[in-house]
């Protein structure tokens, strides 16, 4: 979820309400747009606000969130109108970009007065959009320039990395594109996006001066804005036209909210190429139109609202109503509301404007019968038996590592489910048996009083090519006892008691298992099938886990035992 930092006095001024630092009140206001105050930094007088809706980039600036709240605060209702003047600026797009970074959208802002705070806010918005909406500049990236230094027309083209060099933002020396990718921090961070192609995207002005090397870095000469900058060029490049245009609209709207006047640019995509766009004028603030049925609205909300009431609520939510015809409303959705994809998105806005807490909750009695999963009853019985035998139940993570599952258990590695992106070395795969979890548990309880008797009935995961997910989960059961006199007889006795009470006949057969002592370990057989192991743990394993007392243990495939038991009952 994106968190944005806004200047508090600025927020109050743009909201046009006096809150005197009452964060609870601010929280209530922000709830309308799914925002939540995370922190108030009194020293810097900034508020961190978490925006839960990841699909509303229009809220990630102080300008945007105040724009969205004006209806709820009874200030401006309906869709706020933004004007765009025409300009002669043209942007020529080179055909080779089609498979590299195909789209560009531009706008011009004139007569804007930028304070340090406003610049900070705009940079913050630019950053959030690049990161989240632009998927770390992969999908979109934004550049802002001092318009007065640029000679039109602008050329968006693809170049060989060795052909171009310029002074990147924050540096004083000329660098080639390859050098930038190697040495400039932004080049190092985002270089992977352009390196896939032999040609790199570049923006030049009419005199061949470099504007920027998108999506990496602006030129230090043209791409730097200060408090003195009055006229700006805003440009967004990227891979999906819809997203590129939306990012441009959002930055342009924020600058209009700051008193700037917006002018359009004409983008000329090449003819006789893969492009089919032709000529496009940007930005584009046209509203989208959605049909909303009064009946559908009331059905989804459980309310009995009239078309008029719905219209009023829509205006509060910052949407517009073009016309009402019987049951059908034509709703105007402003360009920046990219989250609206379906009429349900509009219906939710109606509900929020109505107030969730003004709707009466209703518990509908339905003729359904509840049921726990089929094995749950037996799982509970098994746990109770172990508890009755004096064993403490434990809960361990199913994420484990190969050292614990194999090396420390003195066994050969087997095929298991490993993670391709583990976060820590102790959690790199899913466990394929339980005993390592219990051994780990014992290892960190060496200072706790003995005897220690513990068990776990939990999931293990095994590769299984016959399944959709190429894996299967099984419930297994393992128990260990440890104290100075723990031995085979004790654990066999517990196992026998468990099996007897659980109603399962079992046999034991001598076996060899590297985790157990030779001659003190047996296979557990139920219905002719091996379902587990019981024995005294090998001192090699005890040493590996740094245990000082003997350990005796059994581990069972509980699922299989249960299947045997239920099959027997059937016949």
């Amino acid at each position: 979820m994106p968190t944005i930092d806004v200047d508090y006095p600025e927020l109050e001024r743009l909201l046009n309400v006096k809150l005197n630092g009452d964060m609870a009140k601010l929280d209530d206001i922000l709830a309308n747009i799914k925002g939540e105050v995370k922190a108030f930094n009194e020293k810097e007088c900034t508020v961190s606000i978490e925006m839960k809706d990841t699909n509303r980039p229009d809220l990630w600036s102080v300008e945007g969130l105040t724009r969205a709240l004006q209806g709820y605060l009874n200030q401006t209702k309906g869709v706020k109108q933004y004007a765009v003047g025409k300009s002669a600026l043209e942007v020529k797009v080179n055909a080779q970009l089609y498979n590299i970074r195909p789209y560009i959208c531009c706008s011009i802002i004139k007569d804007v007065h930028l304070s340090d705070n406003i610049i900070k806010g705009i940079m913050h918005l630019q950053d959030k959009l690049d990161q989240t909406n632009g998927r770390n500049r992969q999908k979109t990236s934004i550049g802002i320039y001092n318009l007065d230094l640029i000679k039109p027309p602008i050329e968006y083209t693809a170049v060989k990395p060795a052909e171009v060099s310029f002074v990147p933002l924050g540096f004083t020396e000329k660098m080639s594109l390859d050098e930038i990718l190697e040495r400039h921090p932004k080049g190092v961070e985002y270089g992977h996006i352009v390196k896939k192609n032999p040609l790199y995207p570049m923006l030049f002005d009419g005199e061949g001066k470099v504007l920027s090397f998108p999506p990496i870095i602006n030129s230090n000469d043209l791409g730097k804005i200060t408090e003195e900058s009055r006229n700006l060029l805003v440009e967004v490049t990227g891979t999906l036209h819809k997203t590129v245009l939306n990012a441009l609209n959002l930055v342009t709207l924020a600058l209009i909210d700051r008193g700037g006047k917006a002018y359009s640019a004409t983008i000329r995509y090449p003819e006789k190429s893969d492009y089919t766009e032709g000529t496009v004028v940007t930005p584009n603030f046209d509203n989208k139109r959605f049909q909303l049925s009064v009946e559908d609205t009331n059905r989804l909300l459980g309310l009995k609202l009239s078309a008029k009431e719905i219209s009023d609520l829509l205006l509060t939510a910052g949407l517009g109503v073009e016309k009402v015809a019987g049951d059908c409303l034509t709703v105007l959705v402003p360009c920046y509301r990219v989250d609206v994809m379906h009429q349900v998105d509009i219906i939710e806005d109606v509900a929020i404007a109505y107030g969730y807490n003004n709707i009466e909750p209703m518990w509908r009695e339905l003729p359904t019968t509840g049921r726990a999963k089929p094995d749950q009853r037996f799982i509970d019985i098994a746990r109770e038996l172990l508890v009755g035998l004096g064993y403490q139940e434990t809960l361990n993570t199913t994420l484990s590592n190969q050292e614990s599952l194999f090396k420390k258990m003195n066994t050969e590695p087997a095929k298991i489910i490993e993670l391709s992106n583990p976060k820590i070395v102790t959690m790199t795969c899913l466990r394929n048996w339980l005993l390592p979890s219990l051994m780990e548990f014992l290892s960190i309880n060496q200072s706790v009083e003995f005897p220690q008797k513990i068990f776990e009935l939990g999931k293990i995961t095994l590769p299984d090519e016959t399944k959709e997910t190429q894996t299967r989960d099984e419930d297994w059961l393992a128990a260990v006892t440890t104290h100075p006199n723990a031995n085979f007889s004790e654990i066999k006795s517990a196992l026998d008691s468990f099996m007897g009470n659980f109603g399962v006949e079992w046999q034991i057969k001598e076996t060899a298992h590297p985790s157990f002592i030779d001659g003190r370990v047996g296979k557990v057989i139920v219905g002719g099938i091996e379902v587990g192991v019981v024995g005294e743990v090998n001192p090699l394993v005890l040493e590996a886990w740094k245990l000082e007392n003997p350990v005796a243990s059994f581990e069972l495939n509980f699922q299989q035992i249960l299947e045997r038991k239920l099959n027997k009952n059937k016949t």
Binding site: T132, V344, M362, I417, L419, V448, K459, E468, T471, R472
Partner: protein, 509 residues
């Protein structure tokens, strides 16, 4: 003179035969009483002034793993000086170290000690180590106290510091600093007989036969009628016993499960490894959504892809819905959907994939209610408020004409039945798969407001491609926070706590 009971007499005699002073351990051996009986009788004997109990703290010395290594192979400085001697009494440091088979990180340590022990002189200009004059004339390099102590410990495994000679005690400090041994205090209780005790013991003044343990023999033969049953000091401490118990968190989940069953919900199950299709795509999460980044979800290394042929129809509908909205009335996300990405295997990041599978299965009853208690995984760095593996309780309700009022009603019911809340409050919320979406806060006297659940009505982009025409309420409960509140813990890691002491002492809540 005070009367002595049988056990008291036995203990006193044993103490005297051990020379008048003995540790509790020695007495357990001598009398065959358990620890608690020795202490109980000793306390009474002390009250009668027949013996005194002294607690003494002694330092127990043990070798560390590194110490054991050196005890076996010799200290690095000895190996270095021996190698130098073998090389003729003076040698290049590097060569000597090589001969001594020293690992590079130990060379500087060994050199430091060789100089400190005045075994050799080091000339940095030419990197040469030469054995000192005095040593050159000797046949062996004398063994230092530190080395004697190492050998001693190798033989005995552990010794009491106080038992060592002053030289060896000094060597202890040195080796402790080198982290070759550990010194840990241990309390030993010693009983010492008093002159009165001696007298009582020799006079063998035994009270009339007293019975400590009532035995089957005494009962059957009726001997107990004439025997005197010894009076116990019932205030004496006894050994602790710990019951086997269910894990408190699992027990809590059992309760939640029982409540949900009672409210008419059926339990859903599934595997921890899931396809991206059911974890994300079927829930209308676009394929380039940040929640699908490797920083937010665990992917399976091998195999990478699951099998979706059984779901080809849903897959086709979901694909179209993402691309253009299909027949759902939505605009869709408007990107090119990848079948490959849909198959990618991952560890499920939420229990909602189980709901998606239930909807997709094709045998859905209307009305019906379902829930799951699912282990889910996220690549988080574990801290007070985050776990990389945890449980989620969530589910769905399907019926004709379900609406927002029902949704709020369900949340209200959960808050009352499961959290025992006094008051509830709703707030707009966001989930990619529901619209409208609601957050539930529950207020409980003494606990304040907690965010207890999230809920919504599945988007048509979710239900229609899976073949469901009825509205579906989807809900999830923040049970972990509820458990923590009830158990009085503020660290989420305690849920998977491996602290046996805590589990044993955890009281019923």
């Amino acid at each position: 003179m005070a009367e002595l009971r049988t056990q008291e007499q036995q203990l006193l005699s044993a103490l005297e035969s051990l020379g008048g002073t003995a540790t509790v351990e020695q007495l357990i051996q001598a009398c065959g009483f358990p620890d608690s009986a020795v202490m109980r009788n000793a306390l009474t004997l002390q009250e009668k002034n027949f013996l005194s109990i002294h607690a003494k703290i002694q330092n127990i010395i043990k070798l560390t793993t590194e110490g054991e290594q050196y005890a076996k192979d010799g200290l690095p400085e000895r190996n270095l000086i021996l190698a130098t001697a073998q090389l003729g009494g003076a040698a290049d440091l590097k060569k000597a170290a090589e001969k001594a088979e020293l690992e590079s990180q130990f060379i500087q340590i060994a050199l430091g000690w060789v100089i400190r022990k005045k075994w050799a002189i080091y000339t940095p200009q030419n990197n040469t180590l030469s054995i000192t004059e005095t040593l050159l004339h000797q046949t062996t390099i004398p063994e230092g106290c530190d080395e004697t102590l190492l050998k001693h410990l190798q033989d005995k495994h552990q010794v009491t510091q106080e038992d060592l000679s002053p030289e060896l005690q000094q060597a202890t400090e040195q080796l402790k600093k080198r982290k070759l041994l550990t010194v840990e205090p241990k309390t030993t209780r010693t009983l010492q007989i008093t002159s009165e005790g001696k007298k009582a013991s020799t006079e063998n003044k035994i009270a009339p036969q007293e019975i400590t343990q009532l035995t089957p023999e005494l009962i059957i033969t009726g001997k107990w009628h004439t025997a005197k049953l010894q009076k116990y000091n019932i205030e004496a401490p006894v050994a602790k016993t710990w019951p086997g118990k269910k894990h408190p968190y699992l027990q809590f989940l059992d309760e939640v499960r029982a409540k949900l069953v009672q409210l008419g919900f059926k339990e859903m199950t599934g595997t921890s490894v899931e396809t991206s299709f059911f974890n994300f795509d079927a829930l209308y999460v676009p394929q380039d959504h940040p929640a699908r980044e490797p920083s937010d979800i665990y992917y399976v290394k091998d195999p990478q892809c699951g099998e979706l042929t059984k779901h080809s129809k849903s897959l086709e509908h979901v694909k179209e819905t993402h691309e253009n909205g299909w027949k759902t009335g939505s605009t869709g996300w408007g990107y090119k959907y990848s079948l490959q990405a849909a198959q990618r295997l991952l560890l499920r990041g939420h229990g909602t994939c189980l709901s998606a599978r239930t909807l997709e299965a094709g045998n859905l009853e209307v009305p019906s209610k379902h829930f799951s208690i699912a282990r889910v995984y996220r690549p988080e760095i574990t801290d007070k408020t985050h776990l990389s593996e945890f449980n989620q309780v969530e589910g769905i309700i399907i019926d004709q004409n379900l609406n927002l009022k029902d949704l709020l009603g369900v949340l209200g019911k959960f808050a009352m039945e499961i959290a025992g809340a006094d008051k509830i409050r709703f707030k707009p919320d966001y989930f990619p798969f529901t619209e409208p979406s609601v957050e539930l806060s529950a207020y409980k006297e003494g606990c304040g407001w907690i965010e207890f659940g999230g809920s919504g009505i599945f988007r048509p982009e979710v239900t229609l491609p899976l073949g469901v025409k009825e509205p579906v309420i989807a809900w999830g409960l923040g049970v972990d926070r509820l458990f923590m509140m009830r158990a009085g813990i503020d660290d989420i890691r305690m849920i998977f706590s491996q602290d046996l002491g805590w589990l044993r002492k955890k009281q019923v809540t």
